[in-house]
Symmetry: C2
Subunit: 241 residues, 2 copies
């Protein structure tokens, strides 16, 4: 079993670079911090290597022992985890779908992660994100999913084209918009549904909104302001799978 104590080691440097999206795209790998996510990655069959400062090999997976300094370099300054998993990026596609969530340029990693977690809990079949949405493999996104990302396909794609394909496949596509005319309590439930949520500041892009079948609003009074992950939770609960 390998043992690394040098901060200059080539593997250590390559792992540290996985904190950047560009490098994750090149290496097609990402880091999962802590025992819970490592366990989930193992179950999902994408765990390649475990880096740890504890003297225990992880199951049948390549385990690399490192000292505290190397662990600290890989984890960054704030983290207190004792094991980090190196994982292959997930590539899953939904089979038959009835409920999908679409994120149009949602930027905050906590929001994206929480929305994926909620989608999984309400039996959604997939989450689609515009290419400019926050990266799934950002460490804060991963943490906010609480492991749900290993149980639901998350796909980055062109949203207007996706909407056309969904509609051809019989989906009704709802955009969530504060100024929409249909209140959520009056929006009809359909057999196949897609919900679109937009950017924290700007909302859903005009062309995306225009391509959807209808815009629905969550009924509020006075101070009309909801976090996008909260709005998504209310909508997905109403139209749960």
């Amino acid at each position: 079993m390998e043992r690394i104590t040098s901060l200059q080691n080539a593997r250590v440097k390559a792992w540290c670079r996985l904190r950047q999206k560009k490098e994750r795209d090149v290496q097609k790998r990402f880091l999962a911090d802590g025992d819970h996510l490592i366990e989930e990655a193992y179950t999902a069959g994408i765990l390649e290597t475990v880096i740890t400062d504890r003297e225990e090999p992880y199951r049948d997976i390549e385990t690399v022992f490192v000292n505290e300094a190397v662990m600290h370099k890989i984890c960054g300054t704030v983290s207190t985890v004792h094991a980090v998993g190196v994982c292959q990026k997930i590539e899953t596609w939904p089979e038959a779908s009835r409920r999908v969530l679409i994120l149009d340029n949602v930027q905050d990693p906590g929001n994206v992660g929480t929305l994926i977690r909620t989608a999984r809990s309400f039996s959604y079949d997939a989450v689609y994100c515009s290419a400019d949405s926050c990266d799934l493999y950002n460490e804060k996104t991963i943490r906010s999913t609480q492991g749900a990302m290993f149980h639901i396909p998350v796909i980055y794609c062109d949203i207007p084209q996706l909407i056309r394909e969904l509609q051809r496949d019989g989906f009704t596509v709802y955009s969530a918009a504060l100024d929409a005319s249909i209140p959520l309590s009056e929006a009809a439930e359909k057999d196949k549904m897609a919900l679109i949520l937009g950017n924290e500041g700007q909302g859903i892009r005009k062309n995306v909104q225009a391509a959807s079948n209808a815009c629905v609003r969550i009924e509020m009074d006075g101070f009309e302001s909801l976090n996008v992950a909260v709005a998504g939770g209310i909508l997905m609960y109403r139209f749960r799978g």
Copy 2:
């Protein structure tokens, strides 16, 4: 108008200490970062002083001009704001209430702030927090409220005692619990309602749950995991004021 350029200035030191809860309790003041929150604090009538590195006095409020170094010290390393408001702590009490939210040891500032924002948007009359919940005046909590904290009373108190008083006043008190027997869609709406949400890891304390009238669960399938702010949003939308 005062102008401060020394990092050792006594007022600067006192303002910096407001980043700690202990000092906020002693000084009975807190800091509001950025123009939007300053404006909200002004409207609420609690804004005392504006500290800025711009050459503009703020309305009729004492404005202190500081250089970049002082601004940086007050804002910490990450912030990029050009004005910080020194505010008196808010002391408001609800008058007649019909809907209240109760937080039992919710710890994450983003969750507490988001729940306050959601409560305001669904016309709740007050948010009550256990004494060990995250501080309202934490800068991350303030930011997550998006200004809603200036429009709804937030009160720290003893929760079991509060529940007894609410029940005497005719309130039905629901605890949100994953393993509860009443599904949300079957929980009756009442004239006066209180909803309790619990800690991110442990949920609602046993004695608090026992004091409530009933426990309700949000219907989920399989991966049962919701962020507490999302769960609160679903419940408050269902029982909005």
